[in-house]
Symmetry: D2
Subunit: 308 residues, 4 copies
């Protein structure tokens, strides 16, 4: 996210605007936990994980009167536009803030799950994907040396995006994810047996956190119980967050951050940025209410074909 | 490239075809340096850099009679289609082989320069980009600690693609590349002085190998001579090649490898694969003769805005 | 381990001996699952994690008659010495094999736990340490951004070596490990409160797998129950195994592999190699029965001082 | 170095002392470019490359009257002890400052060359070693795929320490370094031919920056001229500096930083810290005038044996 913050600050400076950084998300907006952010404050943050502005959940922001306070805080300070970096929750709040109180808002997609409607990419996804793939490359060394079955859980509460891309990139033998068809457990068992018969002694199965069968631990227990399989479960968890961002995430963070400011400067608002058909695109904030995208079916099918 | 090789072999196996691996590129086609490649031979190659089939230059292949021999070798062995992974030289040869001798050919873009006509992506580009960015992150530590100017040369003989994307992703102060306007040296000097006046003591300038001003060494000499600047030159060189491929390169290598085989199996040929508007696409082999794409101008402009 | 395998094979070749690789550890010795290993078979394995010879548990080898079979297999094939890479279980078996049947054995310490008696280092420890530290650096990004408490479990069934070194290297706020004093839970709680009062909002506690308080999950449950703390648990697990070995692990693997062969060639046996006072040293195989070393107390104390 | 800075500040705080950070090395001591450094200023610096205090050359400090000024500055501010992190130049200056003006000094070895007398380790060496090895792993991918000879220059003006350890860890075919015998060029040529005859098509030769034969570029030119070899030269250069420090460097930086403060607090001074026989040790500052250590001969010999 720091790439986007840096781009917002410096593009604004180039257009003659001052930027204030709001710490701890919407909570900071309520608490006036903010300060001017000069361009120098963005030196050497591009390569750092996390966010220099910190973040926090703010359930209060769901209350209309709290949003009214936030709008009043912004007005009192003379802040003319708000750039929100976050996922669908953050965007819904921004949409309400603009609709109810006329605060000009721009959204930059920042979630490792890549599950926002309308955009093919969100900040952090490419980094999290590479981190998961590197971790599984290490696990593969052990799986191969020991001839073992591993279930590896990756993030993605309600989205299989990260799981399917990770599985394809690390050469997993199978992938389980929320949007996959109901018979995925039987399919998994059949594939593991087929691999075994083919002489493949080690297998890695990627499981999305929010898979319908339950977590990797649950799937592992079921496989042990039903088929007596000797297996190991690894939960990647928070390792996938953080870390120095990948080149792509830095490039898109920079492009979106600069574009958000240019558009606000030009009087546009009520949008979020995205990648559509490979190009930078504007989407109306209200589109965040659309259903979230599913991972392409041909990719998950490819996982099976390529691990034979 | 190993991701594409693995995908070709395993998709072919799934369709009931046998795959032969040709070592050392077209030279191996002339020398019959080939062998059957079972699916097991592709175990654990997805995460490795380089190519298990090796590669070599083969100037002889420019001669029509040598191409005729190659076609005859393929026919004699009963090989029904050829998947070529490489850059524009390799694709021109494939185009000639198909046009002259009817060998069904499919191309998979494999060059870290990302300079093939028609496609937004080539295999190895994302990996090389991340490698260059990581290297420059390290150099940034020294540049900041010592308050120094660094010129860093990245690959890309006639293309600034890698240079511009690297510069944006590593927060470089400037970028020089072949397709940039003639006044780039004066622009560079002006920007370095402006940064100095703004209190910025360390700067990193990314220089494309094939920049019109000459290599990073030449630009460095000129800056030293004209302005007495104390600077360091780093040539990233072959460090950008090799290394475990990024997730994106693995995913596209897998997708293209599988698609190439499916299309050949369906009787199509004379194409190469690419990414167009974010999606997998087929391009006619003859399109490789088109002019190579230039890096987007807005990205190189952004480098300047964001390093203020 | 591949560094040691490569060194054994190539040093043996330099001394005029042939090397056979035994797959799947002692099980392979019983099954004659072995083959000659030429120096070319060791090309490009130095940088790979895991082991090209695979590994397996072999409980049968605890039976004297099975060891007799193994010795007979070696004799029948004319194998004159055995290099065993592994931990204390593997060394005990080697010790018995030599004592009972006169098979000349040499041991190379290969366990990521660094818990073998007599040696300051085992292969894999430095790699696992760096892997754990990199993973926790990522978690730190999230801990800082969100102001959260994380419990991170690292490997080390009965040894705190990995936990204490990891904690010091990643700047953890506290470390729990098997050999630490009984009051460690109270100490932990006191330290977390002290940090909180000092304004430190994020904390990372490293927990050794075999800590007396139970796993990180158990400690986390207790902290939640007793103090209502909002925390996250991450189990690094098998991510710490595998991965391209660190420079130090490659260097010591190379040195030990070569030395083992030279000593066997000179007629010595019944030893394992180690690092003592920073230098390469020979230790009698029987020393593996000594108690395992504890992590230096001053290091774990330093964790507390430096996280203030 | 940040690990050592953090340890100095926090250990001093634990002992009730205040720490001031001096920016830009001895130049900052002359310019009073210093400020109090609270423990909070050391948050999240452990994992960063470079140094938060910046660094600079200061040739003036060789003049006795400038050193007198520096001592006066320290006295005037009430600073009671100086911790110097650096190489032999920095330590010589500290030695003079203490001898001439009674300023209590403590040295922490900080140079990636690992060429300080008396100590087996300096901060940055393990990190630079791993960085060089990772870079050469990438080059190896290309060398293998293309069957090529690479000369790779690593840092080390007058010391082969980094070159020899790098060569062993990356499985280089040969290494050239300043302290090696005069006939190293002939030995190199002989070895390259022997490898070629043995069927080894790709070779990597590590060359120390300060090798007697000249730089890697010079050696490459000579090999091309004398033997018509087709080869590539890569100069790793400043890539080896910077980057997130390895676990070992963080641990030793932490240990040395804390120990330096404890000793100064106990009234000791005029020493530098080191690793002797694997343990933390104190050395008299004057020992820095001793000749620098040579890389162990058995390691460079091993490079040859293991690359057969």
């Amino acid at each position: 996210m720091n790439a986007a913050i840096r781009a917002v600050v410096r593009q604004a400076d180039a257009l003659g605007h001052e930027t204030w950084g709001i710490r701890h998300g919407y909570q900071g907006l309520l608490d006036k936990d903010w300060a001017p952010m000069p361009t120098r404050a963005c030196a050497n943050i591009l390569q750092r994980g996390g966010t220099v502005l910190h973040t926090a959940r703010c359930p209060e922001f769901l209350l209309p009167n709290r949003r009214a306070e936030a709008a009043e805080n912004l007005r009192a300070e003379g802040i003319q536009g708000l750039v929100v970096i976050g996922g669908d929750g953050s965007f819904r709040a921004a949409e309400a803030l603009q609709r109810e109180h006329g605060v000009p808002c721009a959204g930059i997609p920042g979630t490792i799950d890549n599950d926002l409607p309308g955009t093919e990419r969100t900040l952090g996804f490419d980094t999290a994907l590479n981190t998961a793939v590197e971790a599984i490359d290490r696990i593969r060394d052990t799986a191969s040396s020991h001839g073992r079955l591993f279930l590896v859980e990756v993030m993605g509460r309600s989205s299989g995006m990260l799981a399917v891309h990770t599985a394809l990139a690390c050469g997993a033998e199978a992938v389980l994810y929320p949007e996959s068809p109901d018979d995925s457990y039987e399919t998994l068992v059949a594939r593991l047996y087929a691999n075994w018969l083919r002489g493949k002694r080690s297998s890695i199965v990627v499981v999305a956190e929010g898979d319908g069968l339950g977590s990797a631990v649950a799937v592992g227990d079921r496989l042990r119980r039903d088929h007596g399989l000797d297996l190991r479960v690894v939960v990647l968890g928070h390792i996938q967050r953080g870390g120095s961002p990948s080149a792509l995430d830095r490039i898109w963070g920079s492009r979106w951050g600069a574009e958000a400011v240019r558009r606000l400067d030009a009087g546009e608002s009520g949008f979020y940025l995205g990648e559509v058909a490979g190009a930078l695109a504007l989407l109306p904030l209200a589109q965040v209410l659309d259903p979230h995208p599913s991972p392409p079916g041909d990719l998950s099918e490819l996982v099976g074909i390529l691990s034979r």
